[in-house]
Subunit: 414 residues, 2 copies
């Protein structure tokens, strides 16, 4: 079976069909979690899965599982998955590729009459993006027992709508057990576009993902004193935006100064009162630090705390700094990572080891089961954007690597 | 008549009565222009003015004039004014003091049987604050022909309501000529709280205002590239917020590096997409530069343009920089400024020359008539804030200086 190949045209057609649901003018997708558009995307996936004779069910957080049985009913299933929800202005491939690639693997198995020892399941995780409800990676997080189901269901969006109600409204509050018994997952594979330009720049087709950067997220508030921009002399001001601006540059310094794929980002800032002629009395901002090594990540966090205190002092403003998220660095299961590398080699595809800068559902699943990821290039490394793009031949290649790795893990019938 | 004194208790009582209209929980005032609360404030002023036998009328932009006749019908009136509208979270004294002080001067004239050669008018200008409709200082701007009446009436608030309609609805669209024939104003005096702590810090009662800082306001936009905060290596980013933060610090450097009461403020910033884990692709921000000397203000503006270009280049982002407002520095009429100083001296009040950092209605009126301002201390220099506070004895002192200066200008009956 090492020569079985997926149908690249069918895979591409499924991605394009799916992208019509929530399509945006610039060629992207707006399929925000637990909206009616998300429901339409789920319905399409369920329809296709049933057409492929898969056994479809969903759990209490709305994760959808589509199972193809193996010959050994006692064998733990091999899972393939990702997510169907998108950013508010998202692209056609982020998430959707991993689910459609899983479906394509099982369609190929059907077509070729392949049977496996272990069952193989395609999974679509609920609310990976976290742009409407936090926490992000909600479905895989509940599945992996990272946080309780009830907490996830109680999350509210900006308009106060409760996640559990939204889930019921779209008809995807199911009764499959959640969390799954962790012993029931034999392995988890996720194919995904890279979301940065390293593969493209190095003309490499397959990224063999070693793991994911650890992340520490902070909420920062500087409180100074509003004052009128005209009358207030410079030396009497307590300008919270000057402190915030200094901290933005400190975060950039930290990210550039540490080894091991360090990253530092201030993505969000709210200036108050945000009036042209009022010295800002308060700024709230976020800081996102990432590193492949936990000890280095801690050192970066310490540096941030010291820098923020020094900035506050020199600007004569108050500081509140609170850590809100900590994902330790994730290392994927060596044997699965090896199987991905071997599959790329066997198929004659260019490949390189790579570390994911972003978290993915695989990072949570890796806490309860062996997991690995396959990256394929995306144009310019651009993602979370309507112009996100990937090439059919790369998507096909990644799906073929996936098929080989799944097949190796699921095993031949006894 | 040099010994005539205003009734400080009556002045304070009027300020406190007025402050009940639109009173806020923290002791401030919310009397946004052309709302029903503004109408109630106007109605109260008109009632008091009529009780004082003043001839009340209003013009097409809603400026209210309350005239006490002089003995010479041909003499150009001496005007005393300020505004009754407030910031959304404003204080009891900003604007209200100038109008109530004018009323108190005329009440005192009535009580003492003082007659003047020239008529004396109290004026309340429409929409000084500009927090609902722009341009700011709308009423005095139309009066002084800075912009056309029709343009001001066509302004829309954030909900699309047209200023002219709002003015009609509250019943203050009048037929007094607007703009006034500029030859008809003999002099204009405006008493105001200082809105910064210089008088308080130097334990001075009266600020003899020389003029107002010139202002140049800019809209700036940096455009980089949104990208995912995790995957995107630092060296591949085009982070618009890093550019914006550098410019905030450049504005601060500029304001601290130039003479003549230089000010520089970034009061407003919008980060896009403003998501915690997305490198910001766009930042819009404002810059407000002020200086007492026009040539220095121009040099600051040139420095800003150079700095912004250099920042954009080093951050590899696009720059748009547009000047949106230019108020040249204003110098008040020397003879009126002298009369304010002489009045303070004659009354034995501590006083100092001072430059206003903010624009006031007097700055527009100064374009068409001799004008001057009197500042009194406010607590901590805090204004545009519900906790804005001033002391009765200072308000009384400022009103007595006003009375003397008005009396000197309006002249004894021929």
């Amino acid at each position: 079976m090492a020569t079985a190949s997926i149908n690249g045209e069918r895979l591409w057609a499924s991605l394009m069909d799916l992208a019509r649901i929530g399509a945006t003018p610039k060629g992207g997708v707006r399929r925000i979690t637990l909206t009616d558009t998300d429901r339409q995307g789920r319905d399409q996936f369920v329809r296709w899965a049933r057409e492929a004779q898969l056994d479809v069910r969903w759990d209490a957080i709305g994760n959808i599982f589509a199972r193809r049985p193996g010959t050994d009913p006692a064998a733990a299933p091999v899972m393939i998955g990702s997510h169907l929800d998108s950013q508010p202005s998202g692209g056609k491939f982020d998430g959707a590729y991993g689910v459609m690639a899983g479906l394509e693997v099982l369609r190929t198995f059907n077509e070729r009459g392949v049977s496996t020892r272990a069952p193989v399941e395609v999974v679509s995780w609920t609310n990976e993006e976290g742009s409407r409800f936090v926490p992000v990676m909600m479905g895989s997080g509940v599945f992996a027992n990272v946080f309780p189901l009830q907490q996830a269901l109680a999350a509210r969006d900006a308009e106060g709508i409760v996640a559990g109600d939204a889930l019921k409204k779209i008809g995807y509050s199911g009764d499959a057990p959640a969390p799954m018994d962790k012993l029931s997952v034999g392995a988890y594979f996720e194919a995904h576009i890279e979301q940065r330009p390293v593969l493209e720049d190095s003309r490499t087709t397959i990224g063999v993902v070693q793991g994911a950067l650890g992340q520490r997220w902070f909420d920062v508030r500087f409180t100074g004193q509003d004052s009128h921009a005209g009358p207030t002399p410079m030396e009497l001001r307590k300008d919270a935006l000057i402190a915030a601006s200094r901290l933005v540059l400190e975060v950039n310094r930290i990210a550039k100064g540490y080894p091991d794929n360090a990253r530092g980002t201030v993505g969000s800032m709210q200036v108050s009162p945000n009036s042209r002629n009022v010295v800002p009395g308060e700024v709230r901002m976020t800081v996102d630090l990432r590193n492949a090594e936990d000890s280095t990540l801690s050192a970066m966090a310490d540096d941030l705390q010291r820098s923020a205190r020094a900035v506050a002092q020199s600007c004569r403003v108050e500081l509140e700094l609170r850590e809100v998220v900590y994902f330790p660095p994730c290392k994927f299961a060596a044997e699965l990572v090896d199987s991905v590398r071997r599959a790329a080699q066997a198929l004659g595809l260019s490949h390189r080891d790579i570390v994911s800068g972003a978290a993915h559902d695989a990072v949570y699943v890796a806490r309860v089961a062996p997991a690995a990821m396959i990256f394929v290039p995306c144009e310019g490394g651009i993602s979370h954007n309507e112009i996100e793009n990937a090439w059919p031949e790369d998507l096909t290649a990644g799906c073929n690597v996936l098929l080989q790795a799944v097949l190796a893990r699921a095993g031949a019938p006894a």
